[in-house]
Amino acid sequence: MKIAVCVKQVPNRDYTLSLTPDGQWVREEGLAWEINESDLYGIEAALQLRERWGGEVLAVAVGPERVTEALRKALAMGCDRAVLVSDPRIPRTSPYCVGRVLAAVLAPERPDLVITGIASEDLGFAQTAGVIAEWLGYESLPLVIGLEAPQPDRLHIRQELEGGVFDEVEVELPAVLMIQSGANQPRYASLKGIMAAKKKPLDVKRLEDLGLTPDDLRGTHSRLEWLGMEVPVQTVQVEFITGAPDEIAERLLEKLKKEARVL
């Protein structure tokens, strides 16, 4: 079974983020980076399928050079090889363009299965899987919370949908899955895995290597123009309650009883 997992590198969630002056992106100086959480579950799902049926797991990513660190981690967890497409001409705020690049990496590989996380913690469009599936002509499944492979060409999928609805679905491969956090228990990279990862292939490609020009990436009928980001205006003005824990407790109860009248 040949499985490709898409990995995105996002800011570590413990860091406070601020915007660049033009609002186009976040300030990257001083941030720590990690693999997008749901992508870790995707990697684990891929590794488990390889352990069951053999084959290989390819990790793919789009982003600047720093993303090699995320791919090394994916290799240390057990992926067999990795490809990073690093090219400043890729419009990173358009999931269409990023997905187009990933599809171009995957098309010649013809994987049986492509796995992405449910959504990225930075942009969160939740489109990568769909864009890849459409370019490759693969079946696609959102919100996968469980999967079994009774045969190497067929998966039994459990999807978690809105309002506590679960769908059980049979899918014939090839397919693209969007994995939800919680689908499994992502493994930690072992010391042996970290050592082995240093020797595994990690190719860094530019658009030319994929036979693409920047124009090829864009939608010809509708283009996403990223005007920038801002801190949302608060609809409710929060009232912070401060002091020693005892004082906070007393003040909060007073406010809830006398001001908000909900106790």
Binding site: T93, E168, V171, A175, L224, T242, L263
Partner: protein
């Protein structure tokens, strides 16, 4: 002058309530840009659902009828839409619900039209006739402003609540166009069954007070702290997704887009950062209190009262105070 497709979603014999919001958004867009609105219903037998859509002053209700459309999946659904575009004309805009079943479909529809889909739209602001699409980024810390350029079709996925259903105009009798699309390539996924998770004994929907616990609690053992406060206040215990994923509480406690939507008079979030998936489930709460040591946590953007302190100090103090007040007859 073009057409706006509004994708009408449904479950069983009932339209998804979000459909009304999509119709309202389409009406506004149509008015500002001079388009006509079509509501598009796909299914094995969508006719009975058409009546609910015929109450809006839109041009057409389109019924795409085919046995393969009984179960919503990308291959048959996109072929049906392609058939509609070929048989009539490609739309200027497509508005679809940004809900889980449409995550792959919305992106694929964009690629099929060679259009860059904008999904997860939280709000629309207008610059004259031009919609600026607002979507959350970086787990709700920021919002992005997005414009679409090009001839279209423009494909936009709206979050539930992005447009108020109250804005919809009613009264009218759209014509019904019924088509049986050609579907050459069958879907390669097959629904075995669809089940609704048991709600169990945790009745979050009717609880007047809810204390919800998040990732910040750190471990299953620490839940006892929050449970004590819940017991003292007579509150039901809810949880955000990471707590359930970690196995610290069962699924029936989960609040948010995958779990339950709640509307208590008092919601207290403990160690919850306020990711969009959780926030959509608590928006209806009358009063929101947030306890989180990070003063930048997004939950403070929607909270009425905020306590930016260590929950392990504040929660026990609060429990103690609640008990004292009860002894004094103040609560």
């Amino acid at each position: 002058m073009g057409i706006i497709w509004t994708i009408a979603d449904y479950r069983g014999a009932r339209l998804n309530p979000q459909t009304v919001e999509l119709v309202a958004a389409a009406q506004e867009l149509a008015e500002r840009q001079g388009h006509r609105v079509w509501a598009v219903l796909a299914g094995a037998d969508p006719a009975p659902l058409a009546e609910a859509l015929r109450t809006y002053p839109i041009e057409k209700v389109v019924l795409l009828r085919h046995p393969q459309l009984a179960y919503l999946s990308a291959f048959p659904f996109l072929q049906a839409l392609r058939f509609l575009a070929d048989r009539t004309e490609p739309p200027a805009w497509v508005l679809y619900p940004h809900t889980y079943r449409y995550y792959d479909i919305g992106a694929r529809l964009g690629v099929a039209f060679r259009s860059e889909t904008v999904s997860d739209v939280q709000r629309i602001v207008w610059e004259g006739a031009e919609p600026i699409l607002i979507k959350p980024t970086f787990t709700n810390k920021f919002i992005a402003r997005i414009r679409l350029t090009g001839p279209g079709p423009h494909v936009v996925g709206l979050q539930p609540g992005a447009v108020s259903a109250d804005a919809v105009r009613t009264g009218g009798s759209p014509e019904v166009l019924e088509l049986t699309p050609e579907i050459q390539q069958a879907g390669r996924r097959h629904l075995v069954r669809s089940i609704e998770a048991a709600r169990g004994k945790v009745d979050l929907a009717n609880a007047p007070i809810i204390i919800a616990v998040g990732r910040g609690i750190g471990s299953k053992e620490n839940l006892a702290l929050v449970q004590e406060l819940a017991d003292a206040l007579g509150a039901a215990l809810g949880a955000s997704r990471p707590v359930v994923d970690a196995g610290w509480l069962p699924f029936e406690h989960q609040i948010g887009s995958s779990g339950q939507t709640v509307a208590p008079k008092l919601y207290i979030g403990v160690g919850i950062s306020g990711a969009m998936q959780h926030v959509v489930g608590i928006k209806g709460s009358k009063v929101i209190v947030a306890i989180n040591k990070d003063p930048e946590a997004p939950i403070f953007k929607i909270a009425h009262y905020g306590i930016a302190e260590d929950l392990f100090k504040v929660v026990p103090a609060l429990t103690k105070k609640v008990r004292e007040w009860k002894e004094k007859g103040l609560l």
